[in-house]
C-alpha cells in the first residue's frame, strides 16, 4: 500500500527534538534520505547547500518561524529550488489557519498531534502533485 520513498530527499526543520526525531524515524523507515535542522538558520543553510524533494517546516519556532523560512524558499533565484513542495507542521488547528497557510505558499499542512498515517499520505500527495 505504501509507496517507497527511497531516494526521496527530505528536509525537516523543528525546534522540538522529539518532534524532529519522530518525523525523521518515520521517513527513514521508508528509506528516504533525511536531513534535519533545529532552527531556521540551520534549515536555510541546508536548503542553500542541497537539493530537496520535500521540506517539512514547524511553524512555531523561536527567532525564525516556519513562515519566514518559507518566504526565503519561495523567493530563491533558482526556480527548481523555490518550487519544492513545503509542508507546514503546526499545532495551530484553528478554523481559517489552513487557508492562511495555503495562501502564503505552503503546499499542505500536517497538524499536531501528528497522526503518522495522515502525515505519510500528505507527504506522498505533495510529491505526486509535484511530479517527483
Amino acid at each position: 500500500m505504501m509507496t517507497d520513498l527511497k531516494t526521496l530527499r527530505v528536509l525537516i526543520v523543528d525546534d522540538e527534538p522529539d518532534n524532529l526525531m519522530l518525523l525523521q524515524t518515520l521517513f527513514k523507515h521508508f528509506k528516504a534520505q533525511v536531513s534535519t535542522a533545529a532552527d531556521g538558520v540551520h534549515g536555510m543553510k541546508r536548503f542553500a547547500e542541497n537539493r530537496f524533494d520535500l521540506i517539512l517546516l514547524d511553524i512555531q519556532m523561536p527567532v525564525t518561524s516556519g513562515e519566514t523560512i518559507l518566504q526565503s524558499i519561495r523567493s530563491h533565484s533558482d526556480p527548481l529550488k523555490r518550487t519544492v513542495p513545503v509542508i507546514a507542521v503546526t499545532a495551530h488547528a484553528m478554523a481559517g489557519d489552513r487557508e492562511r497557510l495555503l495562501r502564503v505558499g505552503f503546499n499542505d499542512y500536517i497538524s499536531k498531534p501528528i497522526d503518522v498515517q495522515v502525515a505519510l499520505e500528505i507527504a506522498q500527495k505533495c510529491i505526486k502533485v509535484n511530479g517527483a
Binding site: 524515524t25 501528528i114 503518522v116 498515517q117
Partner: protein
Amino acid sequence: MSHELRTPLNAIRGNTDLLVYGYYEDGAPAVGKTLDLLHTIQRSNTRLLTLINEVLDVARLEAGREVLQLSTVDVVALISETLEAQRVTAQSKNVALRFTIGERASHRITSDMPKLGKIINNLIANAVKFTLSGSVHVTFDGLNAAQWQFTVQDSGIGIAPDQLSKIFERFYQVDSSETRQYKGSGLGLAIVKETVACLGGTISVESQQKQGTLFVVTLPYHYADAKHDD
C-alpha cells in the same frame, strides 16, 4: 502554556504510533500483547489530552481572553447533529431522544458556532450519560424579541438539592467517591457556564432526585445586542 503541555503528549502519541505500525528502522507492526499495551498507552494519552484541553478551555474563559468568531448559526442543525452523534449511546441503554422546535423560534441567530456547539454538545451528552433509561428531551424556542431558549430535560438520576448549587464549580463531581460510577473531569458544566456567559447568556438548572434534571439556557438572538444592553 498550552504549547508546553501539548508537546510531550504529541511525542507520546506519535512514537506510540510508530511502534504500532512498525515505522522505525527495520521495524515491523506490533502484534499480540505488545499491541494491546500500546493501545492502552494511546487511550490513556487521548484521555489526558482531552482533560488538558478542558483545563485550558476553563482557564482561557475565566481569564476573559476568548475572542468570539461571530457568524449566522443554524441552531436546529447544531442540535440535530449533536443528537445524531449521541444516538448509538442512547439506543444502547434504551434512552429515547426527542427534539421539539417551538413556534416562536426564529432561526436567524448571530453567535459563535464552535462555542454554541460546545454548550449544546456538553449538555446533551451529560443528559444521556446520567440517564439509565427513559428519555432526553431537547427544546429550542424563542423567549422574547431578543432572546431564545435551549432546554435539555432528562429522566436521569437527578441531583440532590444541596448539590445543585455546586455543579457549575470546577472539578466538582456529585459523586466523588472512589467507587463512583460516572467518570469525567468535573469540568464539563464549568465550561458550559463560562461559555454561556461569554456569549451573553444565562443558564439555570432544576432537578429532582431519581426524576431527572432540566437545564435551561437563555441566549440573545444577536450577540451584539447583548453587549449593547450591558
